[in-house]
Every structure is written in C-alpha cells, then in structure tokens.
C-alpha cells in the first residue's frame, strides 16, 4: 500500500534514489512533449501551438483519476499524500509574477531544466536568472514575510470548497478539459504560424 516510502519506512537513500528515477521520467516526458522549446511553449499565449494546455490538463487528469482508482482499490492512502496549503495572497501574487516571467523568458522552471538538458543556451540563462530570483527572494524575505503568510487557509480542497464529491469534481474537470482541448484545436488553426511551427 502507498505511499510506499511513508508506509514501509524507506531509508533515506532509497527515497532519494526514487526521487532521481522519477526525475528522469519527468525530464524525459517534458522533453518528448516539446517543452524544451521556448517558441513552442510561447505558442500557448499567441494561439499557434497549444501543446502546453493539452499536456498539462491530460497529466493532471491522469494523476487525479489514477490516484483515486489506487485509493479505491486500497493501494494508496490519499490522506498521506501532500496537499499544497493555500495562502490566498501569495498564491495569486506569486502566480501573476510567474506569468510575467513566463512570457518574458519563454520557460517555466521545469521546462527550463528540460531545455537546458538538450543544450538550449537561452534556457541556461533563464535558469541563471532563476537562481538570482531565488537569491533575491531569500534576501528580501523579511520585507515580504507578512504578504507571504497572509490569508492562510490550510490544505484546502477544491471539491470540498465547491461542496461536491471528488468523483463529481473529477468529472467536471474532464468535461472542462475536453471543451478546452476543442477550443485549443480551433485556435491552432486560426492562429496558425507555419513559419514558427516548422522551425521548432
């Protein structure tokens, strides 16, 4: 029964080995999806390539459905899986700052690592900027601590917040994703940029 490392009390080295192996899968999947290309990623925001939306929502739904199936068959105790805590202010403001970074840099941290691993020099510079960003955050933390800690809501769940069961919420998300995929396919035709997509 999972999570294996918690329930079976794995030694630290084994948990770190698992992290390394999962990282290999993560990096491989991102690169295969084409997330090692900033111009492909940026297509999401100009409509000519919507791979980001398709990969992102498909992955979230596979993990959401998969974890509930494992839990249903008694193979995974979801109470032991980490749920991200909700700090309203920092989630929104942090997200807006990240969005600005995304459109300037063309990468997010995960895709930047993926692009760096195949030799993209712009991604190496993006990651160097990222290290400066983390350093600036640490150094300015005393000034923004209040903002970072404001409006703390705990590990709030969206199905409980909406007052529906996990299964119903998953179904709603799947319907929403299919609608978004349909719009995305239309957008790729409408905003098609063969000059860019043939190049990446």
């Amino acid at each position: 029964m999972g999570p294996l490392s918690i329930i079976s009390g794995f030694p630290e080295w084994l948990n770190l080995l698992i992290a390394f192996l999962i990282g290999i899968g993560f990096g491989f999947a991102l690169e295969q999806a084409g997330f090692s290309s900033s111009r492909k990623l940026a297509g999401m925001f100009y409509g000519y390539d919507t791979t980001v939306l398709k990969v992102f929502f498909t992955a979230a739904i596979v993990a959401l459905v998969g974890s509930q199936l494992l839990s249903f068959f008694g193979l995974l105790n979801l109470k032991l899986v980490y749920v991200n805590p909700y700090y309203i202010n920092s989630a929104i403001i942090g997200g807006v700052i990240m969005g600005a970074g995304f459109i300037m840099g063309g990468y997010c941290p995960g895709t930047g690592i993926s692009a760096l691993s195949i030799g993209k020099i712009d991604a190496m510079i993006f990651m160097a900027g990222g290290m400066v960003g983390a350093f600036l955050f640490a150094e300015t933390y005393p000034f923004i601590e209040t903002l970072a800690m404001d409006n703390f809501k705990g590990a709030m769940r969206i199905d409980e917040w909406m007052g529906v069961s996990p299964g119903v919420f998953t179904l709603i998300l799947i319907i929403a994703a299919v609608a978004l995929f349909w719009i995305a396919e239309l957008a790729e035709k409408k905003f098609s940029r063969a000059d860019i997509t043939n190049d990446i």
Partner: protein, 170 residues
Amino acid sequence: MEKRKYMNPYLAGVLLGLVLLSAMFFSGRGLGASGGIKYAVVAIVGAVDHQHAMETPYYSKYFENGESPLKNWLALEVFGMVLGGFISGALAHRLKFKVEKSPKISNKKRLLFAFLGGVFFVYGAQLARGCTSGAALSGMAVFSVAGFVTMIAIFGSAYLFAWFFRKLWI
C-alpha cells in the same frame, strides 16, 4: 540526422501524469522544479558565506540537520530531470547548443529577457510555494485550491502580458 517529431501532446500528457502518479504512490508527494533551484542557491550561499546563511532564518533552516541542502528529494529529482531530458533529446537527435529565438530579435535581446524571465518566475514561485510543476500541476492532482488558483494566476497573467512582449515571439 533528421530531428524526430515531438510526441503526440495527449500521449505525452498521459506519460507525465503517470510520472506524477508514481511520485504520489512512491513518495506521497508531487513533482517540483523551482524547489530544486532554491536548494541549489541555499547550498551556494552556504558555501560562499556560511555565516550569512546561518544568520538568515530563510537559509539556516536548511542547515539544521547538519547535512547538505542538496541531499533532498527535490534536488535529486532535478538532477534526474537533466538526465531524463538529455536521454530524450539524444534519442530524438535534438542535442545541440543553440539560442532559440524569433529571427526578428537579436541573441542579446533574447538572452536578456530569458534572464529577466528567470528572475521573475522563480521569485514568484518562492512566494507562491511552487511553480507550474509543484504548485499548479501537482496541486491540481490532489484537489488543492492553491493548485487551481496558482494555475489560473500564472496563465491569466501570461495572457495579460502577452501583448506587451509579442515582439519577442511573433
């Protein structure tokens, strides 16, 4: 050699979802990327100015157990990501040192904005306690409201600013 095509996006999504599910099943947690960058910075600051790291609560908490900040789940996962991306790139004949950019802008401009983008993105990720991987994707997979809100904020903001930075891309 001819570059291979990228994987079908829906198939790649299934693969990524299975990797995320494995992280939940084996380690009881989601994926991450910006956290790995943070641990690298903490380790560098600790090596360069150990006294400063010990006196600053934001760094010192990572040195409390007396081990390297890099001996950490996220740091190891990020090392794995570099290898995984390299393997994928090698199989697809995509390994090449290059600056990827629109032909309409100079290398210098592309690299300047890549750097600035990195600064903004990881600063925001520290504030939001995770990036597209750790907060948005992994959060959504465990029904976290924070995951959905962060996802909407990231993409909403990028759409909002897209017009101002369009010359970089189209």
